[in-house]
């Protein structure tokens, strides 16, 4: 049982045929990075905060996409790793006065270990059964956090101070946090790109598309699967740590089951098995619920539901898939054939 429906595979093959040429793609990425760097100087502090959250969501969504989109394991429990990351940061800063910069990688590594360990028994579960096991994780974590009150502050949570801007940089706290997030995002995206484009990525996709054939090819399926779970959890943990810093407060109520479902919605909307999809998904996760609320105060979630259905009808392969399709049409119309 895999998530990869034949359509996804077809879409990917089609995408390969008319892939955006490399220099174009590089230019696009550079342009996006440049826009990302200019952005916090062009908008208000509140917007900067919102885009910081977009960056944080993008990291978490990329983590989940590696697991679900590339490797075909469904997780309904990534909110739990997000919570572990946030609490790692909060407890380290609050209890041990660790400089916040160190807490981000520690949160990532801790979540990698937790995810890897969770991945081992979870290997026996596939598809929907794995989804249920991870769902249990999402349900349990908020209560477990309340139980260890001495460390976690119980239901009242832990209040943090936002990191001060270092070296006298001429930035506001919001802008500084934005750049910390952007830097983490770039590093993690490059890592993911390196991981997924080569042997490892092909192995993950092979396990997703045809586990038996993959094993026959000599891929150590169980090792790859639990490692993928670990990497995915690690990414989400880093996102959680950044969110702890950006919100400057952690409490169990912030990490309910709905958060995990939001992540899953985000990767499907953004585009499964697509790195850039994580960013589109993050934009959706951040802004669409707010728009829904602006349209109707009475039934914002109904409006959100309509958005979801429309997105799925119009862009069955997510936003990333739709953009690929548009590119192909453009290529065909202008007559500039694909290079390969």
């Amino acid at each position: 049982m895999t998530v990869a429906t034949p359509e996804v595979a077809v879409a990917r093959r089609a995408a390969l045929v008319a892939a955006v040429p490399r220099p174009w793609r590089l230019a696009g990425v550079l342009l996006a990075v440049a826009a990302g760097c200019v952005l916090p100087f062009a908008v208000s502090g509140f917007r900067v905060f919102q885009f910081t959250q977009v960056g944080i969501y993008a990291i978490a969504l990329l983590g989940l996409n590696i697991l679900t989109g590339y490797n075909g394991q469904i997780s309904l429990g990534h909110g739990a790793f997000y919570a572990v990351g946030a609490y790692t940061t909060a407890i380290m800063i609050d209890r041990w006065n660790v400089p916040y910069g160190w807490t981000i990688p520690v949160a990532g590594i801790l979540c990698f270990v937790v995810g890897f360990l969770f991945g081992i028994p979870a290997l026996r579960l596939e598809g929907l059964y794995l989804a249920l096991a991870t769902f249990a994780l999402a349900l349990a974590v908020p209560q477990i956090l309340k139980y260890f009150e001495h460390w976690t502050g119980g239901s009242q949570g832990i209040v943090l101070s936002k990191p001060e801007v270092p070296f006298g940089l001429p930035l506001s706290q919001d802008q500084y946090l934005y750049f910390v997030t952007l830097a983490s995002l770039l590093v993690l995206f490059v890592l993911a790109w390196n991981l997924l484009r080569g042997r490892t990525g092909r192995a993950l996709v092979a396990i997703r598309d045809h586990p038996i054939a993959a094993e026959a090819m000599g891929i150590n399926s169980s090792l790859y699967k639990s490692l993928t779970f670990g990497v995915s959890a690690g990414y989400t943990g880093v996102a959680g740590a950044l969110s702890g810093l950006a919100i400057a407060f952690v409490a169990p109520d912030a990490f309910n089951v709905f958060l995990s479902i939001t992540f899953l919605v985000g990767i499907v909307i953004g585009g499964l098995a697509s790195i850039s999809g994580a960013i589109y998904g993050a934009l959706f996760t951040q802004f669409v619920p707010n728009w829904a609320q602006d349209i109707s105060k009475a039934a914002p979630w109904a409006i959100y539901g309509v958005f979801l259905i429309v997105f799925m009808y119009v862009m069955p392969h997510g936003i990333a898939g739709a953009l690929r399709l548009l590119w192909r049409r453009a290529v065909r119309l202008t007559g500039t054939g694909p290079r390969s």
């Binding site: 209560q143 309340k146 119980g154 919100i247 109520d253």
Partner: protein, 405 residues
């Protein structure tokens, strides 16, 4: 000496900065024009705590009524309320939107303890009034460290103190057994109760038992409490466990003086499921008129509330305490804004919120008055006890004041 001159320079710069920051007090307050006052709010209209959402709706309805009647000094209230689903990160985002983008004059009645904790520092850094927050925690009354935040309802500690006063006065050989939820809420009640007992606490309290909110049952705690020989039972539990506690103590034949925290005083949610017979003679503390209580049927305050509900919020339930709560807190807010006169600077709004004198409201129990001061950020500190007669709560005795010893 070099470093001293530098430090001095730094101090001077700081002082200058502060002076500059403080000087434009006379300037126009964001969100206030000659015809409008913008007020921000967050409420859980969706999500696990959405039962509270009605509070935001009833407040909006009340402000509409005020606007229809001409507003406040000619200014209409523009009440902007966003859904935060009881999620602290969402509250932070929505409150920043209110303050930085919508430019509200102040934030009012944000609901929930964790959600308000998440914006507590921010509001005080921004110096934006954070008024009458909807939570019973004690931390909101801290004018020294958080001068821009003020609570409204009686705190859990205040209520605990009131039970202590009652026990000291009325139960001569009191031996108290306490069951409490092991978190901030339970500990707040416990602290208030013990503070109220004062030095007598060590003698009077014979056994304290706690439970975790994740526990399946509290039967063994009740048995322990009975075996301790306690003749007073202070029951600090949320509704689910309150039902169990009432049932179990009834089943094992333990009939102490039963003090039940206001959190679980709902007849429909707690007492009926626990059994009306088993619930008889339980005592709780109240400060609002119970809309289901027949004794208010001809009370002008109650009739006005019903008329208001029918005209401005016909979807709202006439049986729901939250609609009484929202109505009363909105009235407190209007009182403060009228008291501000034409000086609607943030500093003055905060100052007036902290200078309420003997304000009685139509749906507060008779005798209960709201009082605040520069050092008193606890608006309601009085409550009256009520005894359950097998059908409804019957108020009795004087109005207790937790601020008095």
């Amino acid at each position: 000496m070099h470093w001293t001159s530098r430090a001095l320079a730094l101090l001077l710069t700081l002082a200058l900065g502060l002076g500059l920051a403080a000087s434009p007090a006379g300037a126009q307050t964001p969100g206030v024009t000659a015809t409008e006052i913008k007020i921000g709010n967050t409420n859980p209209y969706s999500g696990p705590a959405s039962a509270y959402g009605t509070i935001g709706k009833v407040i909006a309805a009340y402000f509409k009524k005020v606007n229809d009647e001409g507003g406040i000094n000619g200014r209409k209230i523009n009440f902007i309320s966003y859904d935060d689903s009881y999620s602290p990160p969402k509250t932070v985002e929505m409150v920043r939107r209110l303050v930085e983008q919508d430019q509200v004059a102040f934030v009012f009645q944000t609901l929930g303890t964790p959600t308000n904790s998440a914006i507590h520092k921010y509001m005080n850094q921004q110096k934006v009034p954070h008024l009458f927050v909807a939570t019973g925690a004690t931390k909101w009354g801290d004018p020294k460290n958080f001068p821009w935040t003020i609570g409204w309802q009686p705190t859990y500690q205040a209520e605990g103190k009131i039970y202590a006063q009652y026990v000291l006065k009325n139960v001569p050989n009191a031996k108290v057994g306490i069951l409490y939820q092991n978190d901030d809420y339970g500990k707040d009640y416990l602290k208030g109760f013990k503070d109220g007992l004062g030095d007598a606490a060590k003698k009077i309290v014979v056994l304290e038992q706690s439970y975790e909110v994740t526990d399946p049952t509290i039967d063994s705690q009740i048995v322990n409490l009975k075996n301790s020989g306690a003749n007073v039972f202070f029951n600090i539990t949320i509704p689910k466990f309150a039902v169990q506690a009432i049932k179990k103590s009834h089943d094992i034949g333990w009939r102490p003086l039963h003090l039940l925290n206001n959190v679980s005083s709902s007849v429909a949610v707690v007492l009926k499921p626990a059994g009306l017979e088993a619930s008889k003679d339980i005592i709780t503390a109240r400060y609002l008129k119970d809309p289901t209580d027949p004794q208010w049927k001809n009370d002008p305050g109650y009739k006005d509330w019903v008329a208001f509900m029918q005209k401005y919020y016909p979807d709202g339930s006439l049986l729901d305490d939250f609609n009484v709560y929202g109505y009363s807190v909105a009235q407190s807010m209007v009182h403060v804004l009228r008291q501000c006169g034409n000086d609607l600077s943030r500093a003055n709004i905060m100052k007036q919120a902290a200078s309420i004198k003997d304000l009685a409201l139509p749906m507060l129990l008779p005798g209960i008055k709201i009082n605040t001061g520069p050092d008193d950020y606890y608006p309601i500190e009085q409550e009256q006890l009520a005894r359950f007669d097998g059908e409804r709560w019957v108020n009795f005795g004087e109005v207790y004041d937790a601020s008095k010893k």
